[in-house]
Point group: C2
């Protein structure tokens, strides 16, 4: 497989160049829209070349930074490399890189944490400023100049449409057989010209398999042959399996009550080990003909498809462990019939999430006794990764689960607290909380009713009496709709900052 | 106008009865779905009769309560009367009654505060339990049994469809000429059977003018001749006018920048004096051919229509002062061509709010320096009214404004605080904050950038140095993404609870 096999648009051959030469075309101080979603489909060579250029320029007394917009998280070659050289002024809408996180939390980098369904439209509306250049990984270029997307679609359509200049990174490591696995919808518009999105089934094709780009804007084509960051999943542990068990029992109960169809509704699953365990639990569960409508397809969902339990999945990215990736490559013709990768404005679109009636399952950092959820901040101030698509799904879903082990840091931290130190999902958007201790069904309850259910069902036994004590005393303290003792509400977090533990 | 003129379905004549007899048909302990949205279109006679029955039963040693579901807020005859006799077990999804509020905040009544766009579907999904009876105000009944809606549509379609029994309150005070002003969409469904909602313009008709009901379920028809609670608006004061001025300047700026069409986009306006002042400001502003897509149509929007500045408005309720109501009645043929009242699942639907690109303007109780908004709770614990539709609009809008005077209680309370005591709209959903001091455009900013803009532009000068001091010290204290000092973050609220003032 040579680069020429992948770049079949003749006009682009003269624009093939090194990553260094391409990185030199990125304007200092500019806004750069890069591909990449959950460690998939991000450019690999160009960001590293850009980082080297930034470092050299700084050494020469000409420091500069760029602002980096992506789909979601990327990998050390992008976020890590650019953060390492202090090359990022503003990062949006999501990241999960340790170097990046450190720069954000030490005040050296700005981060705008956005709902993933908002990003493309805010760029279109002009709310984020001008997009100077797009740097997009593709798996190939057709003879007519259209682009075959790679392992993530993310915001690529929007970046290609909006950017003044486009740099393509052609990754010959991505199998050609992914051609046909994408569905790029070109029917979006800016108000007042919007139309209904014509999708009523999760696996319905509404667009075309290729990305369009104005060839005149393409200033560079760079070759890469390097795999995505592989996600490592821990084998489901006891805690994850207990959480998965509670969810599956609950889903069965809802089917029996007539509140869910027998084949459930399309599943969305957030990132991480717990989410993966829930999907693994469905492998041996009673449900058939499942469908997925999610943002990132990970090992657990791939296994469900392989097993036949899940008939199809829609996502914006595919992010696998090396073992799952080998299976994906070996059986790619099978998977291509069952997987569609779409722009994230479609995979996460409120209109579609509500219409299709998604069952949303997302991880959280902590919940408070009244059902507010913190998905992003450690101890109120430090950013973990970002809200990602959790709000797109939770707000508009049919059922919204938030899951976490009941304790963290070996039991030092309770994930159920008197008051969240930061709120990403309000009481209005949280229906069901699950820990290994149990499941709290909050639908239709008042805050005081929720508190008792959450304390009884979800809190760890070590923290349960402390939460009950807080709740009891708060009910004697003041306003009784959402009883709080404000001087104590955040004291668990304060104690943790002071001592490393929420335990008294 | 006799009742017979209004009840033209012959079979119902035998079911005409007194409010007392109808109230006796409501099952003790049941769930009752009542009409009513923002003090419009609520049943008047039956809830008062029910309250008398509850009081009598309690006196006889047979206490009972009901759970009351509505569209949104009602009036003293409904929420006030039932709360006064401790007759409400659970209230949802919104209220603004002083007696009701007192019962909620003293722990004597449960309240489930919901997004208004979620209510109908959660009832359909079975998440709220069985609906025993619907009590719905209508202006008349057609010869074929269909119902002519009154001044609010709210959740009436859903209550009529779902309830085991239906009680109709026919209000002969509502002018017959409102017939034709409603658009009831019967195309909704439960997943997986949902289709796109076929609306692309705010004033587009997608349904039919009448409500359907299974005549066999109608157990009582009761006559009323009593007007809605009239909303009193204060004449716009200096503070409201300054807020309105900032918003109008900003909208003009956005038009000049090409980020808004010259005729703007459909306007949503929350309830209250400030919202009304903004609309009044548009009366003399530079914009023409405005449209409204909102939940409640109040005086300000009616005046915009009358003036010709606004060509049409869509809402779920019409709630006017007595002066505006007289004008509405006098010119009802004019207004009927320009106003459509729809079910609240349509007026507030995320799909439509996003598609149409609404400019959302909602009031708030407080915002924190990072752009989180509290719309519901006083000092973290006491419920004011509820979130209403503010989240439906803010999350999905094109532009989302939150407005408040910079101080409350004669300057004792700052409406800009270090940390919100409750969060209803997260940093991800808040674009623009406005006080009489100025306007903070938060689009695309990081939390630290937002803090400086909010302190500089929105805080009252008396509190500005205190906020700056907190922000400066928090930036030296710990995590730098959203700098906080947790032991101080809620201290302003604690001080206010202790002393009645946030001032040190």
């Amino acid at each position: 497989m040579t680069l020429a096999d992948r770049v079949r648009y003749a006009d682009f051959h003269s624009r093939i160049m090194s990553a260094e030469d391409a990185a030199a075309l990125i304007p200092a101080g500019g806004n750069v829209g890069m591909s990449g979603f959950t460690g998939a489909g991000y450019p690999k060579a160009i960001p590293q070349a850009l980082a080297r250029r930034i470092e050299a320029e700084r050494a020469a007394g000409r420091p500069f930074r760029v602002s980096v917009w992506t789909g979601a998280s990327t990998a050390p070659e992008l976020d890590g490399a650019l953060a390492q050289v202090d090359g990022i002024e503003m990062r949006l809408p999501f990241q999960s890189d340790p170097v990046c996180r450190d720069k954000i939390n030490t005040g050296q980098m700005h981060f705008s944490d956005m709902h993933l369904s908002h990003v493309a439209q805010h760029a279109w509306f002009g709310f984020l400023g001008r997009l100077d250049v797009a740097v997009v990984e593709v798996l190939g270029i057709l003879p007519d100049g259209r682009l075959i997307p790679s392992t993530a679609v993310g915001n690529n359509k929007t970046w290609l449409d909006l950017a003044d200049k486009v740099i393509l990174e052609v990754n010959t490591q991505v199998p050609e057989q992914m051609d046909g696995m994408h569905d790029i919808y070109y029917g979006t518009a800016v108000p007042p010209h919007r139309k209904p999105i014509p999708m009523t089934q999760p696996h319905e094709r509404i667009g075309e398999p290729y990305l369009r780009v104005d060839p005149a804007k393409v200033v560079a084509v760079v070759a890469t042959h390097q795999g995505d960051r592989n996600t490592r999943f821990a084998a489901p542990d006891a805690v994850s399996n207990q959480i998965a068990g509670h969810i599956i029992d609950f889903l069965q109960h809802e089917v029996r009550q007539g509140r869910l169809p027998r084949d459930l509704l399309p599943l969305q699953s957030g990132v991480g080990n717990v989410a993966n365990a829930v999907l693994a639990g469905l492998l041996t569960g009673p449900f058939e003909n499942l469908t997925g409508f999610t943002e990132v397809l990970q090992d657990g969902m791939l296994e469900l498809i392989k097993s036949g339990k899940m008939v199809s999945a829609s996502a914006t990215a595919i992010s696998l462990s090396s073992a799952a990736l080998a299976d994906f490559h070996a059986n790619i013709d099978f998977y291509r019939e069952r997987i569609l990768l779409r722009p994230q404005e479609i995979s996460n679109h409120p209109e579609l999430v509500r219409r299709l009636g998604i069952i949303a399952m997302n991880a959280m950092i902590e919940a408070d006794i009244y059902g507010n959820v913190n998905s992003t901040h450690l101890m109120g101030s430090s950013m973990m990764n970002g809200i990602g698509g959790s709000g797109d799904f939770a707000r508009n879903s049919y059922l919204s689960f938030f899951v976490t082990p009941s304790v963290a840091k070996g039991g030092a931290i309770s994930c159920i607290v008197p008051m969240c130190s930061h709120v990403d999902h309000t009481e209005h958007d949280v229906q069901i909380l699950v820990t290994e201790q149990g499941l709290a069904d909050l639908r239709g309850l008042s805050p005081r009713q929720r508190a008792q259910v959450i304390i009884d069902r979800c809190a760890h036994p070590d923290f349960r009496p402390l939460l009950q004590d807080y709740f009891d005393r708060a009910q004697r303290a003041g306003g009784q709709h959402t009883p709080h003792i404000l001087g104590e509400a955040l004291s668990w977090h304060q104690r943790c900052l002071a001592t490393g533990s929420m335990r008294p």
